[in-house]
């Protein structure tokens, strides 16, 4: 752990480092950092891709034993593996750690190596984000090769970032452009990745990378045909949350509940008689019979869906209604296409993040506000609605 910043928060350190970085060259900044006693352990994470030689070379000039984490997704091009060995040897890097996905997880979730065809996010989580997360345990700072000119969400890249309050992420090449990279390769006569001459500019896993056409965005060849541009290891806390939106049959509205939410465990300790207004948060695997004695005291229950396709929350809503809960029932974590389902299961409203509200706008939600139409269950059993609140 860092010696000299014992009482500084990660945010403060990041701010300081970003200030320092403005006045130093990339090499100077790297050199300072690697030798700074105020920083904890530092690792370079490298894909050994088209431009990776730059940072590897710089690091090797400073300290050849710097830990280099190489994520082998086991879906890489054979050329990448060769290139990795070539560079490690040529630069004298003595601590290259080849990280592979966990065997058990691989067997469980992608035993046929086909996950990337159906669900690239899940594949990247399995083969990149999770192994990386494990490999980075104990490191204070990690160095990444991202650059602003690579486009997409990287256009607004800072030199240092606070990575989910876990550690600092350093992007020494953030301000470099293509000409800088080319000049560095030329000046130091660095070997090229064998696929570069075949039209690849950004090189990831074999099934998900194609050559880039002239004039295209650097990373256009990655996940071509999907809207995906990042693999998940580079998603930070940005996209800053403003306020959530609440969807009802009448459309979007701001959240009118100002009282805050209590964890369900707290309920036993709350002075219920005096509480004028009470809202609680329920995890979706909660068994509501445990709340039976308190149901009439609660004004609002919010059921949290950890993933939109985890349907347990629908059954929890049904259970709450069956047990006689008649307060407000809110779902959090659903999509527009599920609004009618939520309403039919007894929810009154759905809470939506600003990010989702932007992507799935009000008309898309209102398209499902006619949840009473085409309802087979109600048609079979007209008595049903009256028993729901």
């Amino acid at each position: 752990m860092p010696l000299e910043y014992p009482e500084l928060s990660l945010d403060d350190r990041v701010a300081q480092l970003n200030k320092r970085g403005r006045f130093l060259t990339t090499q100077e900044m790297l050199g300072q950092l690697l030798e700074d006693p105020g920083c904890g352990p530092i690792a370079l994470v490298s894909s050994f891709g088209a431009e990776s030689a730059v940072l590897l070379h710089m690091i090797a000039q400073i300290y050849t034993a710097t830990p280099v984490i190489f994520l082998d997704t086991e879906m890489l091009f054979a050329e990448t593996i060769e290139y990795q060995q070539l560079l490690a040897q040529k630069f004298g890097l003595s601590d290259v750690r080849r990280i592979t996905p966990a065997r058990a997880a691989l067997f469980e979730r992608d035993s046929e190596n086909l996950l990337h065809r159906h669900n690239r996010d899940a594949c990247c989580a399995l083969r990149k984000s999770e192994p990386l997360e494990k490999a980075l345990k104990g490191f204070d700072i990690w160095i990444s090769g991202r650059k602003r000119f690579q486009g997409g969400v990287r256009k607004a890249l800072a030199l240092f970032e606070n990575e989910q309050d876990q550690r600092i992420k350093f992007n020494p090449l953030a301000g470099w452009d293509r000409a800088d990279i080319a000049a560095y390769f030329a000046r130091h006569d660095l070997p090229r990745h064998p696929l570069v001459s075949r039209g690849f500019r950004s090189i990831g896993c074999a099934p998900c990378t194609t050559p880039v056409r002239p004039g295209e965005d650097e990373r256009a060849g990655r996940w071509r045909g999907a809207e995906k541009t990042e693999c998940g290891i580079h998603f930070g806390p940005q996209g800053a949350a403003t306020a959530n939106v609440v969807m009802r049959d009448s459309g979007f509205a701001g959240d009118d509940w100002q009282g805050g939410f209590h964890d369900v465990e707290e309920i036993a300790n709350l002075p219920l008689a005096e509480t004028a207004a009470l809202a609680i948060d329920l995890p979706n695997d909660f068994d509501a019979t445990a709340l039976l004695a308190h149901l009439h005291e609660i004004d609002l229950v919010r059921v949290n869906f950890p993933a939109f396709n985890d349907g347990r929350g629908f059954s929890l809503a049904r259970q709450l209604r069956l047990l006689g809960f008649c307060g407000r029932l809110r779902a959090k974590g659903l999509l527009a296409d599920q609004y009618a389902m939520a309403r039919r299961c007894g929810f009154d409203e759905v809470e939506i993040s600003p990010e989702l509200a932007a992507r799935q706008d009000e008309p898309q939600w209102l398209a499902r506000a006619n949840w009473q139409a085409g309802n087979y269950q109600q048609r079979l059993n007209p008595a049903m609605q009256t028993s729901l609140a």
Binding site: E108, E112, L114, R117, H118, N119, R120, D121, A122, A226, E227, K228, D285, D287, F308, N309, D310, G311, R312, F314, S315, L316, R318, Q319, L322, L323, L335, D337, Q338, A340, M341, A342, R343, R344, C345, R359, Q360, D361, Q364, A367, A373, G374, N375, Y376, Q377, R379, L380, N381, P382, A383, M384, S387
Partner: protein
């Protein structure tokens, strides 16, 4: 047959429109691929090895000539001019373009069809006895219940995101042709001591990686309690079914891990709550549905012509011996049309054949067709006097293969031909076996024998319930076929047992031949079927026959 109400029509039309909108929103980015996937699955659209695949529902296997013709048109316009009838009483179209799928769904909706809930982690399309309403051994017609449950489960808001897929089958005869013991829920129509209609309810059957026979939760459930009881089972499963491991997510595992007693306790407890939501008004809809299934008026006609043809035409006789089943009206017959011509891909029918079947059904089978889970087509109500004409029409369409119930009437999953998960080819083994036994001219002598082939342990070819099952695996880069014996999908449910090490692709057909020859030598007489002989003698003599020949065996 069930007739769509304006409500059904509006629903199916609306769903097609919703899906059109979802495709547009996927293309615009409003829906990510992760978010779109469950939505397309709910509408029957899979992503397979080469491309998309659309699975169209044929509700409990029933369709009329108008619908069959529409399927023929669709397969010509959007596929390669043929359709594949599957073991789930539905059909699959391969290679549709995503952009065309909404148009296909519209074309289906125009003839009261859809692809809703044919995939994804929801309650799947209900399956039933393909001889329903016709079989001589039928106790009660299962179709009204199947339709009733179809309506209840359609777009059920609580159960669209279950831990895994959920399959319900209904049967109403002594002979269980719907394999209810191998479904997540099996409903058998029974009557109690007072003659009241109800169901025996079993839960947790299934094939796949962990084959299990369903366990009976209720010996008798009143018909009036059916919907709240189903609500309770699904509610409990949705809440406690495992979501951390897809191979442990089916209800059979939930039941196994929690124990029958605990699972039943939870269901019964929840049932009491659920029952408060129902006041019996749903029985009015049941009665309305039942009226739609009133049997047609069967005609009377002399049958001498039929008997003469039987005497005079050996091909016709052989067809009648294998492909007819007993109808409840004694001068009628149930005709099973084989989609297993020797050497063809099991379950495939060309557009021309589908049209021929539609014409035949319209003229001679009260406009009804059925699809069996054994991948054949049924003409449920043919008067015997019309059989010679039906036979000629089938022959003209290349549909008169006389092999129903015989070894070449086998089931095979698509295997490596279409399936991402396959570890071996299966259709070539199927074709090889069919051709070999056709050449030996022994099929009819061998008699009733169910052979089933799966291309991987997911068991879509139902090899666990084949009298002879074949499971294609991969052993260090080469295909290896494992034989199981003694499976039975009928009312005497049993799971086949592996007999020993597997065979390579070159050896599997000779091994099956040795096995069947051994049966011919071992049976007491021509009336003792394979399964009976196997049950009498056990696996030992068959094992010797399979392995003694000294052909080399892939060490397992």
């Amino acid at each position: 047959m069930y007739r769509y109400t304006p409500f059904d029509k509006a629903f199916v039309g609306e769903r097609a429109a919703q899906f059109r909108d979802q495709v547009e929103r996927r293309i615009s980015g409003a829906l990510s691929e992760d978010e779109f996937r469950p939505l397309r699955l709910m509408n029957g659209l899979y992503l397979l090895l080469h491309a998309y695949m659309l699975r169209i529902v044929i509700p409990y296997g029933t369709l009329d000539s108008r619908q069959m013709r529409a399927l023929a048109d669709i397969s010509e316009r959007w596929d390669k001019g043929y359709a594949h009838f599957t073991t789930r009483q539905n059909i699959q179209l391969h290679w549709p373009a995503l952009r065309d799928v909404p148009d296909i769904l519209d074309a289906l909706a125009r003839v009261d069809m859809h692809a809703i809930q044919s995939s994804g982690p929801c309650i799947r399309a209900i399956t039933s006895d393909h001889f329903a309403g016709a079989a001589a051994d039928e106790v009660d017609d299962p179709r009204p219940t199947a339709e009733f449950v179809r309506q209840w489960s359609t777009d059920h808001p609580e159960f669209a995101f279950l831990p895994r897929k959920f399959k319900i089958a209904v049967s109403g005869s002594g002979a269980d042709r719907a394999a209810t013991s191998f479904h997540d829920i099996g409903l058998k129509l029974v009557r109690n001591g007072k003659g009241a209609p109800g169901y025996e309810v079993s839960v947790g059957g299934g094939l796949g990686r962990t084959p299990m026979i369903g366990k009976v939760l209720r010996r008798f459930l009143h018909r009036e309690d059916l919907l709240p009881y189903l609500e309770a089972i699904l509610h409990v499963y949705n809440r406690i079914g495992r979501r951390d491991n897809k191979y442990k997510a089916r209800v059979k595992i939930t039941l196994h891990e929690n124990g029958l007693a605990e699972f039943t306790r939870r269901v019964e407890e929840n049932f009491l709550l659920q029952a408060t939501r129902f006041d019996g008004s749903e029985q009015a809809e049941f009665a309305r549905i039942e009226a739609d299934f009133t049997p047609p008026v069967f005609k009377e006609a002399p049958v001498e012509g039929f008997e003469r043809a039987l005497r005079q035409d050996p091909l016709f006789r052989s067809f009648c011996e294998t492909n007819l089943a007993r109808h409840k009206a004694p001068d009628h017959a149930i005709v099973t049309v084989s989609l297993k011509a020797h050497g063809a891909t099991p379950g495939d029918a060309s557009a021309a054949q589908m049209r021929a079947l539609a014409d035949i059904a319209q003229q001679w089978s009260h406009d009804e067709l059925r699809v069996s889970h054994e991948q054949n087509i049924i003409l449920p109500h043919v008067h015997k006097a019309d059989l010679p004409a039906v036979f000629q029409a089938l022959r003209a369409a290349g549909l008169s293969t006389a092999n129903i119930g015989l070894i070449s009437d086998l089931i095979a999953c698509p295997g490596m031909d279409y399936c991402d998960l396959a570890t071996a080819r299966s259709t070539n083994v199927a074709q090889g076996i069919a051709k070999r036994f056709d050449a030996l001219k022994l099929e009819h002598d061998i008699g009733h024998l169910k052979l089933k082939i799966s291309g991987c342990i997911n068991a879509c070819g139902h090899h666990h319930i084949g009298h002879i099952g074949i499971l294609g695996l991969e052993k260090s880069g080469v295909e290896s076929y494992q034989i199981t014996l003694g499976g039975d999908g009928s009312e005497n449910a049993a799971i086949g047992k592996p007999i020993g090490p597997g065979f390579g692709p070159e050896q599997i057909i000779p091994a099956i031949e040795r096995l069947v020859m051994a049966y011919l030598a071992l049976r007491e007489d021509a009336d003792e079927g394979f399964l009976t002989t196997y049950r009498r003698l056990g696996p030992a003599p068959f094992k010797t026959a399979i392995y003694h020949s000294g052909e080399q065996i892939n060490a397992a």
